[in-house]
């Protein structure tokens, strides 16, 4: 009996229709289970995004217009805001990588129990509100804060360092908040790297350093890239930390969106900024995928 015959129904198996309907019922059940999530995403993500985006094409008078976009591309302030937003996001991502990679690598080297405890230290801040953590940094970083007063009482500095209310403070605060987003995917990937691979490389003649760079590092790249994409994209839309630790001088895109809403009482202007931010984030993901070849790396 050939497959074709079966499909044409030339051969009827015993209980075939019962089994077929059973299969259909099962797949309907799975679809039914996913339906709430599909609907929720549709209602709370896609519709609002679509609606908000559409607002950007109306001016204050409610007429169809590209005015809101023209302002973004013509004004030096908006250009500057985009540049600053990218600079900060890149800086935060780079620092997160420099701190997070060695941390994760070390975590894979310590005994499992120790690693689990250390991971809790990484994750506990993750469960604390961003606002609380940002204020905590203010307590640490400000002029009479713990860091400055300790350094001064130790005689290391005479004048307090300006650590908060500027770019430095914003980046410190953001790195702290973003680090878990890098560490989690990276550590998971590093853990899954077969230790035999590194051994094989060393056994075949690579120095430990060589084996790290030629084998372990490339194997950890999918996790690293996932972390980089997460941190970078989240940084692009960050609000609370630069607003509180930037002293008003560090203005990222999300802050510009907020200020636009208040000042213009017109959602179109803010919506246009949101649309540009969304498109930039998508473009960055696309670009990173092209550059890093994530799909290729994930293939095993």
């Amino acid at each position: 009996m050939s497959v074709a015959e079966t499909y044409e129904g030339a051969v009827t198996h015993q209980n075939a229709s019962t089994l077929k309907s059973e299969e259909r019922r099962e797949s309907m059940t799975f679809f039914g289970l996913s339906l709430p999530a599909v609907l929720a995403i549709l209602v709370v993500v896609f519709l609002p995004v679509f609606w908000l985006s559409s607002l950007s094409f109306y001016n204050a008078a409610g007429e169809l217009s590209m005015e809101n976009y023209a302002r973004i591309f013509e004004s030096a302030l908006y250009r500057r805001t985009f540049v600053v937003t990218f600079q900060i996001s890149i800086a935060v991502t780079v620092i997160c990588v420099l701190l997070g990679y060695p941390l994760c690598y070390w975590l894979t080297k310590v005994p499992d129990r120790t690693a689990a405890i250390l991971m809790v230290f990484v994750l506990v801040p993750f469960w604390t509100s961003v606002l609380v953590r940002t204020y905590a940094w203010l307590v640490l970083l400000q002029r009479n804060g713990i860091i400055n007063s300790s350094l001064m009482s130790l005689g290391i500095i005479e004048e307090p360092l300006q650590l908060a209310h500027n770019l430095t403070g914003s980046i410190i605060g953001m790195v702290h908040i973003m680090l878990p987003f890098l560490v989690l995917p990276l550590y998971a990937t590093m853990r899954s790297v077969d230790t035999d691979l590194v051994r094989a490389a060393v056994g075949l003649g690579s120095s430990p350093r060589g084996a790290f760079w030629r084998v372990f590092f490339p194997m950890s790249l999918p996790g690293l890239f996932a972390g980089i994409v997460l941190v970078f994209i989240l940084s692009l839309g960050f609000f609370v930390t630069p607003a509180l630790l930037g002293g008003g001088k560090v203005q990222m895109l999300a802050q510009r969106i907020e200020s636009t809403i208040t000042v213009y009482s017109n959602w179109g202007a803010a919506s246009a900024l949101g649309v540009v931010l969304l498109l930039l984030a998508l473009a960055m993901i696309w670009l990173m995928n092209r550059v890093f070849g994530l799909d290729k790396l994930f293939m095993r």
């Binding site: 008078a61 805001t81 001088k249 203005q251 000042v263 202007a269």
Partner: protein
């Protein structure tokens, strides 16, 4: 505007009605919306509850986030508020948009209220002043107490903080540059004067450590000694002083803004609204609020009620001896150009 109106009304309805002040036998309702928080708590005990008893009406409360709430209700044709408090530029804007019921001056008694705060469609309610306050541990008793000194880093070195909004800062810059208080808005009305203000503001901008976002942050900055001199709300300065920090301030060069009361067009209980406004502006009600929080009564009669002691009166911005020292903000100046001015200001302060 039509679209976002619908969205905000849903948000507004979700916020719902906060609290109700009601006498034993109420004859009708009136809905009042203000800024919420401890401020509205003070309003409730000093003004709303006594008014409810006096008028024999139920005063329902709601909170507002600003002009967009009023616009949303009017656009949607579902006006829920009878009286709301808004800042002066918002009142003027709404008035120009034709969104307000005219104030019925046959019901509202204007005795004791400065003429400049009586308008066809709205009326002054409470005065807020931002003053130059400094920490005594940084400057002793002779800290910067006018705008020229605030700008003078040589003779008054120290960390500075200003509000991160364009409002008041252009005015401050001109005063620092020697423009007399009375001529500030005339000067700003000219291109040349505007240029002068920006260039003077550009001098201080790099020296400002923090452009604060809101009132609570300004208080924290002053209390923690994060900055040495700051331009901030005088009622909050008083609360910092009350917490035991040595701070000095003067009303000279302070920037005074006024919140006013208005009745949105199509309000359900216009007559009750007018009666409530009359109660809120009475000398006694205004005096009761002034002793609850050091905010300025618009009704100068408040100081003659005996409710405010001589000592307390000196701390109130609208006390006749203090009133003239401050610059009353011109609500019309920012209308129509706030967006533009804000963007120029943000460009100036951005790092």
């Amino acid at each position: 505007m039509k679209n976002n109106g619908k969205f905000t009304i849903t948000a507004g309805l979700a916020a719902s009605i906060l609290a109700i002040a009601t006498p034993a036998f109420a004859e009708g309702d009136v809905v009042f919306a203000s800024w919420g928080g401890s401020f509205q708590d003070a309003l409730r005990s000093a003004m709303l509850e006594p008014a409810a008893s006096a008028l024999n009406v139920t005063v329902k409360e709601d909170t507002t986030n600003g002009i967009q709430d009023v616009r949303a209700q009017i656009t949607a044709g579902a006006v829920a508020w009878d009286v709301t408090e808004q800042d002066l530029p918002s009142c003027e804007t709404l008035s120009r948009e034709g969104s307000l019921e005219p104030i019925d001056y046959s019901i509202v008694d204007t005795t004791g209220i400065p003429e400049e705060l009586i308008h066809e469609n709205y009326i002054g309610f409470i005065n807020f002043t931002k003053v130059i306050a400094y920490r005594k541990d940084a400057f002793g008793d002779n800290g910067p107490s006018n705008w020229a000194e605030f700008w003078d880093l040589e003779n008054f070195p120290g960390k500075r903080s200003m509000h991160g909004k364009v409002n008041y800062n252009l005015e401050a810059a001109l005063m620092a540059d020697g423009v007399p208080m009375a001529e500030v808005y005339d000067t700003l009305a000219t291109d040349e004067g505007m240029k002068r203000a920006w260039s003077k503001l550009g001098e201080i901008a790099p020296e400002v450590t923090v452009w604060y976002r809101g009132g609570s942050q300004s208080a924290q900055l002053l209390r923690d000694g994060e900055v040495d001199v700051i331009h901030m709300g005088h009622n909050r300065v008083e609360s910092v002083i009350a917490s035991g920090i040595e701070v000095a301030y003067a009303f000279d060069g302070g920037t005074m803004d006024v919140d006013c009361l208005l009745v949105p067009k199509g309000a359900p209980n216009v007559e009750n609204a007018m009666r409530l406004i009359n109660e809120l502006l009475s000398a006694e009600a205004q005096a009761r609020l002034a002793v609850t929080m050091p905010l300025g009564p618009v009704n100068t009669g408040a100081f003659d009620t005996g409710i405010i002691s001589e000592e307390q009166a000196l701390l109130v911005n609208t006390y006749p001896d203090n009133y003239g020292k401050q610059l009353l903000v011109d609500p019309t100046f920012y209308i129509g150009q706030l967006g533009e001015l804000t963007e120029e200001f943000d460009t100036l302060i951005q790092q």
